[in-house]
C-alpha cells in the first residue's frame, strides 16, 4: 500500500542524529565500556591466551589475525545493538519517534537519522579496537590501516540497515534473541573472526560467502596486514547491498507499523 516506496532522503535527519548524540554524550562512559569491553576482552584474552598455544595463523601471529576479525565483529555488534535495543526503546517504549512525527519531520527522516547514528556508533566501536591495534603495533602499515575506517563505516551501514528490519517487526525485546541466535552468532562463527573460513567444511564455506560479515573481514584483514584486499568491488557491493536493501525494507516495514 505504498509503504515500500523509495526512501526520501534529505538533510532533515540531522536533528534526529543530534538528539541521539546528546543522549549518548550524557551516558558516554558506561555506553563505551559496555560496547567495547566485550570485543576487547575476546581479542586480548584469546589473542594472548590461545595465541601462545598456536602457530602462526594465515601467516601471522594469532593476535594479529584476530585483530582484523575483531574490528569487523565489534562494528557489527555495535550497529546491531543500537538499532535493535536502543532503536526499539525510542520507537516503541519511549515513543520518541511518535513525538518527532508530529513535527515537520517524516519517518524517512527519523530512520535515516537512526541509520546514520547507529553507523556512527559502529564507527566508534571499530575505531576503539583499531586504537588498541595501533597501540600494540599489530598493523603492518599505519597508512594502509587507515583504509579500515571507510570499511568500518560500510560495515556499520550494512548491519544498521539489517537491524532496522528486525526493529520494525519486533513485538518486544525478547524477539531480538532470535536474531542473535539465528543470525549474529552464526555469523561470528562462520565468517572468519576467530579462524580462517578455509578451515570450515566446503558446505559451510559456501554459506559463509553469502554472509555480510565475511565480506567485511575480507576487506579489514588484508588492510591490517598492509595488503590491498582482493575483489574489493565484490565485498563493497555485498555490504552496500545488505545495508541499503535493509534500510529500504526496514523503512517500509516501519512505515507500515507506525503510519497506519
Amino acid at each position: 500500500m505504498g509503504h515500500f516506496g523509495l526512501p526520501r532522503l534529505s538533510l532533515r535527519f540531522v536533528p534526529v542524529w543530534r538528539r541521539n548524540f546528546l543522549v549518548w554524550r550524557k551516558l558516554a562512559i558506561p555506553s563505551m565500556l559496555g560496547n567495547l569491553a566485550d570485543p576487547m576482552l575476546y581479542m586480548l584474552g584469546l589473542g594472548f591466551g590461545l595465541g601462545a598455544l598456536l602457530p602462526d595463523v594465515g601467516g601471522v601471529p594469532y593476535l594479529t589475525f584476530l585483530a582484523g576479525g575483531t574490528v569487523a565483529y565489534s562494528t557489527m555488534n555495535s550497529a546491531t545493538f543500537e538499532t535493535l535495543y536502543s532503536g526499539f526503546s525510542r520507537m516503541h517504549v519511549q515513543k520518541t519517534w511518535d513525538a518527532i512525527l508530529n513535527t515537520p519531520l517524516t519517518l524517512d527522516d527519523v530512520l535515516l537519522g537512526e541509520w546514520l547514528w547507529a553507523t556512527s556508533k559502529a564507527l566508534l566501536s571499530g575505531l576503539a579496537i583499531l586504537a588498541i591495534v595501533w597501540v600494540l603495533g599489530l598493523e603492518q602499515s599505519f597508512t594502509m590501516s587507515l583504509w579500515i575506517l571507510p570499511v568500518v563505516v560500510l560495515t556499520g551501514l550494512c548491519f544498521a540497515g539489517m537491524g532496522l528490519v528486525m526493529n520494525a517487526v519486533s513485538p518486544n525485546y525478547d524477539f531480538f534473541l532470535y536474531y542473535f541466535t539465528l543470525v549474529i552468532t552464526p555469523m561470528v562463527l562462520l565468517c572468519g573472526v576467530f579462524y580462517p573460513v578455509s578451515q570450515l567444511p566446503v558446505a559451510l564455506q559456501a554459506v559463509s560467502a553469502f554472509l555480510p560479515l565475511t565480506h567485511a573481514i575480507e576487506l579489514v584483514r588484508p588492510l591490517m596486514l598492509g595488503r590491498v584486499p582482493a575483489d574489493v568491488a565484490l565485498h563493497v557491493g555485498v555490504l552496500l547491498a545488505y545495508g541499503s536493501v535493509g534500510f529500504w525494507l526496514g523503512l517500509g516495514l516501519t512505515r507500515r507499523r507506525l503510519l497506519r
Binding site: 536533528p15 534526529v16 543522549v23 550524557k26 515513543k95 518527532i100 508530529n102 515537520p104
Partner: protein
C-alpha cells in the same frame, strides 16, 4: 476564516470504517472540541488532520495547505500534545524544549531565547534542569504543552490533554489553554471530559462510530438535544416508582441499574410527587453536556 477544513473524510482498517465521513471546519482563534466515547475515531481523525496517515477518501486543508500532500509544511505551524507523554526521559526539562525545537529547523539560539517564556508558561521555571522522571504527572503534561509551543504554532492539537491528571493539575492546564486562546491561537482538542469541553470549547462536535452526530456551541447542543432539567432518582424503589409514574411525569426517562434519570421541561409536578416517596434519593439539576452526550451515544460501555 477556517484554519482547518476537512470534508467527507474516511478511513478504514481491516473492513471497519473508523472514520466514516467526517466534515469539520475550525475557525481561527476558537477552541474546538471533539467529543466521543473510546473508539469513536477521535484520535484517527487527528492523525488524518495532521497528515500522519492517508485518508481513503475526503479532503483536508490545514493552514491553507492540502494535507497529506503538504502536511510537512502545514506542521511547521502546528503544535501537538499527544495522548501519552512522550518526553525524552534522558533529557532535562530545557533540553527537551531545545531538542524538539530543532525538529522544526529552529536554530539553537532562537530556541534558547524562547525557553524562559515557555518554562514560565508551564510553571516550570524553577525546574529547568530537572530530569523528566522527577516530574509529577501534571508537570509532564504542562511541559508537553510547552514543547508543543516551541515553534510558536498557529494551531495546537491536543489529544485528551488532561486524562489522568488530578483536579489541581487539570485546572492549571485549563488556565494555560485559556491563555493560548486569549493569544489568538486556535485549539483543537479531543476529550471525554464534558466539564472540560463545556468550560474550554467555543464549539463542539460529538463523534460516535466514525461520524459526527451533533455539532454546535455547548449551549446550543444542550438546548437542541435535551430537555432543560434532569431529576436523578436513586434507591431500590426507583425502578418500581418509574414503572408507575415514569411515563406520566417524565418527558423522557432513562434507567441505569438502580438509578432513574427523568428529563423534564418543568419538574414541579414531578418533585411534588417525589415528596411523597421519602425512601427515594432525589437530585434535581439543569441538564448539562454529559446528558446530551449520553443521550446521543448511549449508556453502554465502549472499550
Amino acid at each position: 476564516m477556517s484554519v482547518l477544513k476537512a470534508q467527507a473524510l474516511r478511513k478504514r482498517y481491516d473492513g471497519l470504517e473508523v472514520v466514516a465521513g467526517v466534515d469539520l471546519a475550525v475557525e481561527k482563534g476558537e477552541c474546538f472540541g471533539l467529543l466521543g466515547p473510546n473508539g469513536a475515531g477521535k484520535t484517527t481523525t487527528l492523525r488524518l488532520l495532521l497528515g500522519l496517515i492517508e485518508p481513503d477518501a475526503g479532503t483536508i486543508e490545514l493552514l491553507g495547505e492540502p494535507v497529506p500532500r503538504r502536511a510537512r509544511q502545514a506542521r511547521r505551524r502546528v503544535g501537538v500534545v499527544p495522548q501519552m507523554d512522550n518526553l525524552d526521559p534522558d533529557f532535562t526539562v530545557e533540553e527537551n524544549l531545545l531538542v524538539y525545537g530543532r525538529y522544526f529547523g529552529l536554530g539553537d539560539r532562537a530556541i534558547a531565547a524562547r525557553i524562559p517564556a515557555l518554562l514560565e508558561f508551564a510553571g516550570l521555571a524553577h525546574r529547568a534542569r530537572a530530569r523528566i522522571p522527577t516530574l509529577s504527572g501534571g508537570m509532564k503534561r504542562r511541559l508537553t504543552l510547552a514543547r508543543a509551543l516551541v515553534n510558536d504554532p498557529d494551531v495546537v492539537f491536543l489529544d485528551e490533554p488532561t486524562t489522568g491528571l488530578d483536579p489541581q493539575a487539570r485546572h492549571l492546564l485549563w488556565q494555560g489553554l485559556r491563555r493560548l486562546t486569549a493569544q489568538g491561537k486556535t485549539l483543537l482538542l479531543t476529550t471525554h471530559f464534558m466539564e472540560e469541553a463545556e468550560r474550554l470549547c467555543d464549539r463542539l462536535a460529538i463523534m460516535d462510530r466514525g461520524r459526527i452526530i451533533a455539532q454546535g456551541t455547548p449551549r446550543e447542543l444542550i438546548e437542541t438535544h435535551i430537555e432543560p432539567f434532569v431529576v436523578e432518582i436513586y434507591g431500590e424503589q426507583a425502578g418500581p416508582w418509574a414503572e408507575v409514574f415514569g411515563s406520566r411525569l417524565c418527558r423522557r426517562l432513562e434507567r441505569a441499574g438502580e438509578s432513574v434519570f427523568c428529563y423534564t421541561d418543568d419538574g414541579t409536578a414531578l418533585l411534588e410527587n417525589l415528596r411523597g416517596h421519602p425512601a427515594l434519593k432525589v437530585t434535581h439539576r439543569p441538564a448539562n453536556l454529559e446528558d446530551v452526550f449520553l443521550k446521543l451515544t448511549g449508556r453502554e460501555l465502549r472499550d
